[in-house]
Amino acid sequence: MMASSYNAKDEDAVGSGGPGAVKSKKPDNTAFKQQRLPAWQPILTAGTVLPAFFMIGLIFIPIGIGLLVTSNNIKEFEIDYTGVDMFSPCFNCSQNYSWNSTSACTCSVPFTLDQPFESNVFMYYGLSNFYQNHRRYVKSRDDSQLNGDKSSLLNPSKECEPYRTSDKKSIAPCGAIANSLFNDTLELFYIHPNGSRITIHLVKTGIAWWTDKHVKFRNPGGNNNLSIVFQETSKPVNWHKAVYELDPSDPENNGFINEDFIVWMRTAALPTFRKLYRIIQKKKDNMTPTLPPGNYSLEVTYNYPVRSFDGRKRMILSTISWMGGKNPFLGIAYITVGSVCFFLGVVLLIIHHKYGNRNNNADIPN
C-alpha cells in the first residue's frame, strides 16, 4: 500500500503538473525581470539637438570673448637671460660655468617695461628643454624623507639612486630633483629716470601650495636646530650649501619647507615650463602701479648651467586675473567651439527642415 500511495503522488507531479510545482518555477512578474521598467527614452535627432547646439553657441561665444579680453588685459613680460648670444650680458657667465667655482658669476640684464604692471606682479623663472617629467627624474625623490621621517632621512629610498648617498652619508634631500634645484638668484632693480637704482622688494614666501608647505613637506624634528638634525647627512652634490642653509633668516622657510625648494620639487608637466619665483606686492597706496613703466635691471647670480642640453633660462613678470595668468588659448577655443556649434546648428536646422519631413512621410506607407 505504501508503494502505491507514493506512486500516485508521483504521478500527480509528473503528469499535468501540480499547482505547487508551477508556482515554484514560474518567474516573478516584476517590471525588472520582464525588462519593462519605466524608462525615459531620449533619442538624438536633429530636432532635439538643435536647441542644445544653439545654446552652446550662445553661451560659449560670450565666455570666450570674456576670457580673451581678460587674457589680453594681463600684462606679461619675458626675458631670456641664458647668454647664448655673444653680445648678451650673461654670455661670459654661461661659458665659464663649473660647479666647483666658488666665486659666483653675476651678470645684469637691462630691460624696459612699456606699460605699468598693476596689482600684484608675479615673477617666474622659466626653463626650456629641461625634462623635469623624465621618468627617472620624476621618481627620484623620497616623499617620506621630505615629510620629516627620521629613518628615511638617514636611509633614503632606493629610488634616489644615484643621488642617494655621498661620502657614505645619506643625502638630504636625496634624489635627482632635489639635486638639480634651480639656484640662480634673480634680483630686480628699477632704474629711476634720474639714474638711481631702486631695489624692488621681492617676497619669497607664499609661492608654494599651502598644503605642500604645511603638510606634505616637513623638517625632521621641527624647524629648530636644523643643522643638528641634518648632521648625519650630506648635502646634495650639486648644491653650494646644505639644506638647512637655504634661508637661514627665516626658520619657517628653511630646510625642507623652503618654498623655492617646494616649488622646484613639484615636477613640471612639460619640458618647457615656468615656476613661480617671487611675488612683487602691490604698493599700499594703490595709486602708483606696482611696476611703473621704465627701465629695469635684472641682476642674475648665474649658477645654473643649461647650455649642455640646449636649455634656455627666462625671467617672466606677469600680472594675474580671476582666471590665472595670460591664457589666450582658452578664450580662442571657447569662441571657436561656440561658433562651430552655432554653425552646426544652422546646418542641422536646414537638414532637419529638408529631410526630417521626408523621413516621416516615407515611413507612413511602411
Binding site: 502505491s4 503528469g15 499535468s16 508551477v22 518555477k25 514560474k26 518567474p27 517590471a31 525581470k33 525588462q35 521598467l37 519605466p38 524608462a39 525615459w40 527614452q41 538624438l44 539637438v49 552652446i56 576670457l67 600684484n120 617666474y124 629641461f130 623635469q132 621618468r135 627617472r136 620624476v138 625623490r141 616623499d143 615629510n147 629610488e159 638639480s180 607664499g206 601650495w209 599651502w210 598644503t211 605642500d212 606634505k216 616649488v263 615636477t267 608637466a269 612639460l270 619640458p271 615656468r274 615656476k275 613661480l276 648651467p305 594675474i320 582666471m323 590665472g324 595668468g325 591664457n327 567651439v337 562651430v340 552646426l344 542641422l348 537638414i351 523621413n359 516621416n360 515611413d363 511602411n366
Partner: protein, 1145 residues
C-alpha cells in the same frame, strides 16, 4: 581522478591491439567459472566512486590557476604582471596585479564553490547505502565500495547505484519498470527484462547460487546501446549463452518503479557508468561576436606592439645625444650604465608594453562574462516564454551564445513535435481502400472532404470483414506500447474498464499510442502484455490472446517495425507497420493501388501515414527466422549491422492490409512564428523524417510555403526521370534568372513582392548531391555548389526523409558555405540532437519525445512559438548590447591610453605614466565599469512590443552589422580623436600659459604652479567624464538604474579623487597626488577647460549620429523617430505614470 584522463585511458585500451580489452568479462558474485572453460583473468575495474568534482583540497590552487591561465587573456595579464615584477617599469605591479588578482580570485571562488557543492553531492551519492548479496545474505554497503560483479538488490523507488544487468525481479515475468527521468528526462516508465534463464533466481539465497559470467563491451557513453552475452553455468558443463541488450541493462541514475525489488549484477561502476561517461562537456561553441572581439583584440595587440616599438625606436633616436640621454641633472646609476644597449632596448620595449597594456582591458572579459551570465536570466525570467501547461519556462544551458540569437540567418527546424504538437490522434484508417473514421476523433470538427468517404457502415462483404479485423488486430499487436497499470496490488485494471484508457498507454513513440487508442475507439482494445501474451479485447468484448514471439524494433533507417505472434489457434503471423516507402516495395499482394492513393491523399492533407502489412508464417519459417535473429543478437561485434541484415531477410513478401493516418496538429502560432522569421530575413528550413507530401502539407499549413511560392522539387522521383546533373542545372537556371532581374530588390532586403521559391529535397537526393562527384569538377563544378546556389535563392526549403545524421550534414553544409551564415537548429527529439550540436545555436524543445534534445541544446524552450520572442526580442537586445559593450570597451581604452602615448613625445620617451597608479588601476575596475555593464544589461533601443510587431528590424543587425570593420574603425578613430582632444587641450593650457590656480582654497592669494600629476589628473578627469557621457548619449533606455549608475560612478570618481588626494597615505612611499585634485578644481581655467574639452570630444559623435539619422536612417532609427512623434503628445501622461511607477518601485 580526472574524467578526461579516464576516457583517454579507455580509448587507448579500446583501440589497442589486444582483443580482450574490447570486451570485459564479469564474474557474477565473484565466482570463478568452472575450471577448463577459460583462464581466470582477474580484471581490475574501478570502484563505484563517482567523482564529478574537478579539484581536491590540495590540488585546488595549482590546478585552478593552471586552468585559469590557460585562457589567453589571463595569460597575457600574467605576463604583463611578471614583466612589471621583474624589470623596472613605469607603473607598479599593483596596477595590473590587482585587477588580475581580483579576476582570478573571483573566478576561483566561484569555481571552488561549485566544486565544493559537487564534492558534497558526490559524497552523498558515494556514501548512500546499497544492498549487496554476499553469501546468500543481504549486506548493506556504501555505494562507493560496490565492485563489478557484485549482486545488488534494489527496492522500489530506489535509484540504481551503477550500471546493472537485470537478473531477476519480484515480478514473475522477469520484468521491471524503470523511469529514466533523471537521465534523459523521459518520465514514462520503461520495461526492462531479466534474462529468461535467471529470472527464477528470485531470492537472495537463490541468486547467490547463480553461476554465470557476463561478457560485454567496454563502457561507452551511448545510453541506448549495449551489447553483451551471459554465460550461465548450470550443472552441466556446457554453459548456456544468452544475448544481452539494452533492455537488460539498468542504468545508473534511473529509478525502479512499480516493482518491489530486483536483483542485478554490477557491470559498469563509478566513472565507467554510462551516466558518468555522458557528463562530457559539449564542444564549446563560440559566437560571432566573440570572433569579432578576438579579431579586434589582435588588432589592438598589433597597435600595442607597434606603439611600443615606435616609442622604443624614437627613444633611442632621441637619446643619440648624450646630453639628452643623461643630462647632468638626471644621471643614471652605475648598473644602468653598464647594461648592454640591447638589453636596455629590450627592457625599454617591455616597459612601453607595460605602460600601454591597458589598451587591452582585463576587465572586458570579466564584464562580457558577467553580461552574458546575468543577461541570460532575462530569458529565464521571461513571463511570455513560460509554459503554464508544462509548468516550465525556458532553459539556458549556455550563456555564451546569447548574442548569437540576434544573428541567425538560417533556421533549421524539425517538423514533428517542433512545428507540430506531437499530440497524435488517429484520423482514419483505410483497409483495402475503405475508410474508417474513429468517432471520438472528430470531436465536433468536420473533416473537409469527409462527406464523400466510405464510412464504417458501408463496410464490405465477409471477406472484407475478415481483412478489416485482421487489420485492427495487426495494429493492436504490432507496437511496443506498454500499459500503465494503475493498481497492480488489487489487480483491477480500472482505467481500461472505464474507457479512460488514454492516460495509460505509454510508448516512446506517440504515433503508436495514437494508433492503439484509435483502435480502442474502433472496438479493439489492447489490454496488456502478460506472460509473453498480448491480450486484446475485440468488438464482441472477447479476450483474444496472442503469444508475442519476436519484436523487430523500429529504427529510423528501416522506418518500420514488425512483431511475430502466434495466435491462440497456433498460426504464426508477422505484422509489420511502417512508412509507405518502406512497405510498398516489400508487398507482394493486396490492394496496393487503392491504399497508395489514399496514403497520398492523406499525406497531402498533412497527416502522418503508416502502412500495415502482414504475412503468415509456417512453423518452419518461424524457426528459421528465430535462428536468424538469435545469431544476429548474440553477436558481440557489429550486432546492429547483422540485425539489420536479418530484418531485411525476414521482412518481405508482405500482404498489404491498409494504411493509417494520424493527425499531428500544428503548434499554437507556429505559422505566425514562421512568418515572422521570414520577415526578419531568416531562411527557414524544415528537416523531417516524414514523407514529402505530409511534410509539404505541414509547410503550407505553417505558411512556410505560400500559395504563390513556386515549388522546386529535387526528389528521387525527378532524378529518376532526368539525371541529377540536369535537374540541378535546370533548377539553378530557373532560380538565377529570377535572381538576376531582382538583384536590387533582394539587396535592399525588401524582396517581399518578388517571386518566392521553395525547394523540396529528399534524403536520397541529398546524399547524392553531397556525394563527391566522381567525374571530377569538369562538368561545371561540384553539385554542392550548385545546390547551395539554389538554396540561397529559396526562401524556404523542405528536406524530407532525412536521417538524423543527414540533418547535421545539411547544417554543416550551410555553415561551411562561403558566406558562413549563422545557423540555428531547433528540434525536440533524439534525432535532432546531431543537428542541434552542429548548428551555431542549438535550441531544444521540451516536448513529448523526452529531454534529450533539451539536454544537448544551448537553449531549451517549451513551444516553437517562443522562438519568435527569443530571437526577435532577446537575441536582438543581446546583440546590440554586447556589440556596444565590445566597441565601447575598446573605445574607452583607446581614450585612456592614447594620451599616455602622446605624452611620451614630451617626456623624452622615458615611459613616464601620465596618470597616477590609482587611476590606472581603477579606471577599468570602478570608474567606468558599472555604467557599461548596466547598459549592456538594460539597454532597449526599441521597445519589446515594437520588436515583436515588426520583425524586419531584425535585418538591421544581420550579418554582425554592428561589429563590422568600418564601425570598429569609426570607434577607434573616435577614441583617438577624443584622446588627442584631451591631451592637447590640456597641453596648450599648460604649455604657453601659466596655468595656475588662484589658490582661494587655502586662503592664500598666490599663483601656484601645477606639475605633471595635475596635468595627468586634468586629462583623466576629462577622460572619465567624456567616456561616461558618451555612454549616456548612446543610452536609449534610461531606467532609474542607469541614472543611478552613470551619475553614481561620476560622483564616485570625484569623491574618490578628493579622498585619494586628501590624505597623506601612510602605506604609500610617494605622496604625489596629495591635494592635486583639489588644487586643480580650485582653478577657474581647469573648470572651463574640462567643460570645453568634454563638449569638443562628444561633438563629432553627436553630429555623426544626428546626420546619419537625418540623411540615411536605418529602419530602427525610423521607428524610433516615429515612436517619438507619436508619444510626444502623450508624453506628459507618460511622464506622470513613469514617476508614479518609479516611486512605487
Amino acid at each position: 581522478m580526472d574524467l578526461s584522463s579516464i576516457r583517454k585511458l579507455i580509448t587507448r585500451y579500446c583501440t589497442g591491439e589486444e582483443s580482450w580489452v574490447d570486451s570485459r568479462t564479469v564474474y557474477i558474485g565473484h565466482k570463478e567459472p568452472p575450471p577448463g572453460t577459460e583462464a581466470y583473468i582477474p580484471q581490475r575495474f574501478p570502484d563505484n566512486r563517482i567523482v564529478s568534482s574537478k579539484y581536491t583540497f590540495w590540488n585546488f590552487i595549482p590546478k585552478n590557476l593552471f586552468e585559469q591561465f590557460r585562457r589567453i587573456a589571463n595569460f597575457y595579464f600574467l605576463i604583463i604582471f611578471l614583466v612589471q615584477l621583474i624589470i623596472d617599469t613605469p607603473t607598479s605591479p599593483t596596477t595590473s596585479g590587482l585587477p588580475l588578482f581580483f579576476v582570478i580570485t573571483v573566478t576561483a571562488i566561484k569555481q571552488g564553490y561549485e566544486d565544493w557543492i559537487r564534492h558534497k553531492a558526490d559524497n552523498a551519492i558515494n556514501q548512500c547505502p546499497v544492498h549487496v548479496i554476499q553469501h546468500g545474505k543481504v549486506v548493506r554497503k556504501q555505494s562507493q565500495k560496490l565492485r563489478v560483479g557484485d549482486i545488488v538488490q534494489v527496492k522500489e523507488n530506489e535509484t540504481f547505484p551503477c550500471d546493472l544487468i537485470l537478473l531477476s525481479t519480484s515480478r514473475e515475468d522477469g520484468t521491471c519498470f524503470v523511469t529514466t527521468a533523471s537521465l534523459d528526462g523521459e518520465s514514462s516508465h520503461k520495461t526492462y527484462y531479466a534474462v529468461q534463464d535467471t529470472k527464477a533466481f528470485n531470492t537472495a539465497e537463490e541468486v547467490d547460487t547463480l553461476h554465470a559470467t557476463i561478457e560485454c563491451e567496454q563502457p561507452q557513453p551511448d545510453l541506448y546501446k549495449f551489447v553483451g552475452r551471459i554465460n550461465i553455468y548450470l550443472d552441466r558443463d556446457e554453459p548456456i549463452a544468452r544475448p544481452l541488450g539494452s533492455e537488460n541493462l539498468l542504468l545508473r541514475g534511473a529509478t525502479l518503479k512499480n516493482t518491489e525489488y530486483i536483483h542485478a549484477v554490477a557491470i559498469y561502476t563509478g566513472m565507467e557508468t554510462k551516466m558518468a561517461l555522458n557528463y562530457q562537456s559539449k564542444s564549446q561553441k563560440r559566437s560571432a561576436v566573440e570572433k569579432s572581439m578576438n579579431a579586434y583584440l589582435i588588432v589592438y595587440l598589433c597597435i600595442l606592439i607597434s606603439k611600443a616599438l615606435i616609442n622604443t625606436v624614437l627613444k633611442y633616436a632621441w637619446q643619440a645625444n648624450p646630453n639628452r640621454d643623461e643630462p647632468w641633472y638626471n644621471q643614471k646609476t652605475e648598473t644602468e650604465r653598464q647594461r648592454h644597449v640591447l638589453i636596455r632596448a629590450f627592457t625599454d620595449f617591455l616597459a612601453f608594453m607595460v605602460l600601454f597594456n591597458y589598451i587591452i582591458p582585463v576587465s572586458m572579459y570579466v564584464t562580457v562574462e558577467m553580461q552574458k551570465f546575468l543577461g541570460s536570466y532575462f530569458i529565464l525570467w521571461d513571463d511570455d516564454m513560460f509554459d503554464e501547461e508544462l509548468g516550465e519556462g525556458p532553459l539556458v544551458n549556455t550563456s555564451d551564445l546569447n548574442e548569437e540569437l540576434g544573428q541567425v540567418e538560417y533556421v533549421f527546424t524539425d517538423k514533428t513535435g517542433t512545428l507540430t504538437e506531437n499530440n497524435m490522434e488517429l484520423r482514419e484508417c483505410c483497409v483495402d481502400g475503405h475508410v474508417y473514421v474513429p468517432h471520438a476523433v472528430c470531436n465536433g470538427q468536420i473533416l473537409p472532404g469527409a462527406a464523400g468517404m466510405d464510412m464504417i457502415d458501408s463496410s464490405p462483404g465477409v471477406d472484407g470483414k475478415e481483412r478489416e479485423e485482421l487489420f485492427f488486430r495487426a495494429l493492436c499487436l504490432c507496437h511496443t506500447v506498454q500499459v500503465k497499470e494503475e493498481e497492480t496490488v488489487d489487480g483491477i485494471k480500472r482505467g481500461i474498464h472505464q474507457g479512460k484508457s488514454t492516460s495509460f498507454y505509454i510508448s516512446s513513440s506517440p504515433d503508436e499510442v495514437a494508433l492503439v487508442e484509435g483502435m480502442n475507439r474502433l472496438g479493439f482494445t489492447y489490454l496488456r502484455l502478460k506472460d509473453s501474451h498480448m491480450e486484446i479485447l475485440n468488438r464482441e468484448d472477447e479476450m483474444e490472446r496472442f503469444e508475442l514471439l519476436e519484436v523487430l524494433n523500429f529504427d529510423s533507417v528501416r522506418r518500420r517495425m514488425s512483431v511475430i505472434v502466434r495466435s491462440s489457434s497456433g498460426e504464426y503471423y508477422l505484422f509489420c507497420k511502417g512508412a509507405d516507402s518502406s512497405i510498398f516495395p516489400r508487398v507482394v499482394s493486396g490492394k496496393v493501388e487503392q491504399v497508395r492513393a489514399r496514403v497520398e491523399h492523406n499525406a497531402v492533407e498533412g497527416l502522418r501515414t503508416l502502412c500495415v502489412a502482414y504475412k503468415k508464417l509456417t512453423h518452419e519459417e518461424y524457426e528459421e527466422t528465430c535462428r536468424l535473429l538469435n545469431s544476429a543478437k548474440l553477436a558481440l561485434h557489429e550486432r546492429d549491422k547483422k540485425l539489420a541484415e536479418a530484418y531485411d531477410v525476414i521482412e518481405k513478401d508482405f500482404i498489404l492490409l491498409g494504411a493509417t493516418a494520424v493527425e499531428d496538429r500544428l503548434q499554437d502560432k507556429a505559422a505566425d512564428t514562421i512568418e515572422s522569421l521570414h520577415k526578419a530575413g531568416m531562411k527557414v528550413w524544415v528537416l523531417t523524417g516524414d514523407k514529402m507530401e505530409t511534410a509539404a502539407a505541414t509547410c503550407y499549413a505553417s505558411r512556410l510555403f505560400h500559395r504563390n511560392t513556386q515549388i522546386l522539387e529535387l526528389t528521387t522521383k525527378r532524378t529518376e526521370e532526368q539525371s541529377l546533373h540536369d535537374v540541378l542545372f535546370d533548377l539553378s537556371r530557373t532560380v538565377l534568372r529570377q535572381h538576376g532581374s531582382m538583384t536590387r530588390d533582394t539587396f535592399s532586403g525588401l524582396s517581399g513582392d518578388c517571386q518566392d521559391y521553395g525547394l523540396i529535397i529528399d534524403g536520397a537526393t541529398l546524399s547524392a548531391v553531397l556525394k563527391p562527384t566522381q567525374e571530377g569538377t569538369s562538368n561545371g563544378g561540384n553539385y554542392k555548389e550548385i545546390f547551395l546556389e539554389i538554396c540561397r535563392n529559396c526562401s524556404a526549403v523542405l528536406c524530407c526523409r532525412m536521417a538524423p545524421l543527414q540533418k547535421a550534414q545539411i547544417v554543416k553544409l550551410i555553415k561551411a558555405s562561403k558566406e558562413h551564415p549563422i545557423t540555428l537548429a531547433i528540434g525536440d527529439g533524439a534525432n535532432d540532437v546531431s543537428m542541434i550540436l552542429e548548428a551555431h545555436v542549438g535550441i531544444g524543445i521540451m516536448g513529448k519525445e523526452g529531454r534529450q534534445a533539451a539536454r544537448n541544446s544551448d537553449y531549451a524552450i517549451t513551444k516553437f512559438k517562443h522562438l519568435k520572442k527569443m530571437l526577435l526580442v532577446h537575441g536582438h537586445y543581446y546583440y546590440i548590447r554586447i556589440a556596444e559593450l565590445v566597441q565601447y570597451f575598446f573605445y574607452k581604452n583607446v581614450c585612456f591610453i592614447f594620451p599616455q602615448f602622446l605624452y611620451q613625445f614630451f617626456c623624452g620617451f622615458s615611459q613616464q605614466p601620465l596618470y597616477d597608479t590609482a587611476y590606472l588601476t581603477l579606471y577599468n575596475i570602478s570608474f567606468t565599469s558599472l555604467p557599461i555593464l548596466l547598459y549592456s544589461l538594460m539597454e532597449q533601443h526599441i521597445n519589446i512590443d515594437i520588436l515583436k510587431r515588426d520583425p524586419t528590424l531584425y535585418r538591421d543587425i544581420a550579418k554582425n552589422s554592428l561589429l563590422r570593420w568600418p564601425t570598429f574603425i569609426y570607434w577607434t578613430f573616435l577614441g583617438i580623436f577624443d584622446a588627442v582632444v584631451f591631451f592637447f587641450g590640456a597641453f596648450f593650457l599648460f604649455d604657453n600659459t601659466t596655468f595656475t590656480s588662484n589658490g582661494q582654497l587655502m586662503a592664500t592669494n598666490t599663483q601656484m604652479m601645477f606639475g605633471n600629476w595635475t596635468f595627468g589628473t586634468l586629462v583623466f578627469t576629462i577622460l572619465v567624464f567624456t567616456v561616461t557621457l558618451k555612454l549616456a548619449l548612446d543610452t536609449h533606455y534610461w531606467t532609474w538604474i542607469n541614472h543611478f549608475v552613470i551619475w553614481g560612478s561620476l560622483l564616485f570618481y570625484v569623491i574618490f579623487s578628493l579622498l585619494w588626494g586628501g590624505i597623506i597615505w601612510p602605506f604609500l612611499n610617494y605622496q604625489r597626488m596629495y591635494y592635486v585634485f583639489m588644487q586643480m578644481l580650485s582653478s577657474g581655467p581647469a573648470w572651463l577647460s574640462i567643460i570645453l574639452l568634454i563638449i569638443v570630444s562628444l561633438l563629432p559623435d553627436v553630429v555623426k549620429k544626428v546626420l546619419c539619422r537625418a540623411l540615411w536612417p536605418t529602419t530602427t532609427e525610423r521607428i524610433q523617430t516615429k515612436r517619438q512623434c507619436l508619444t510626444a503628445e502623450q508624453s506628459t501622461i507618460f511622464m506622470l505614470s513613469q514617476t508614479s511607477s518609479s516611486v512605487s518601485f
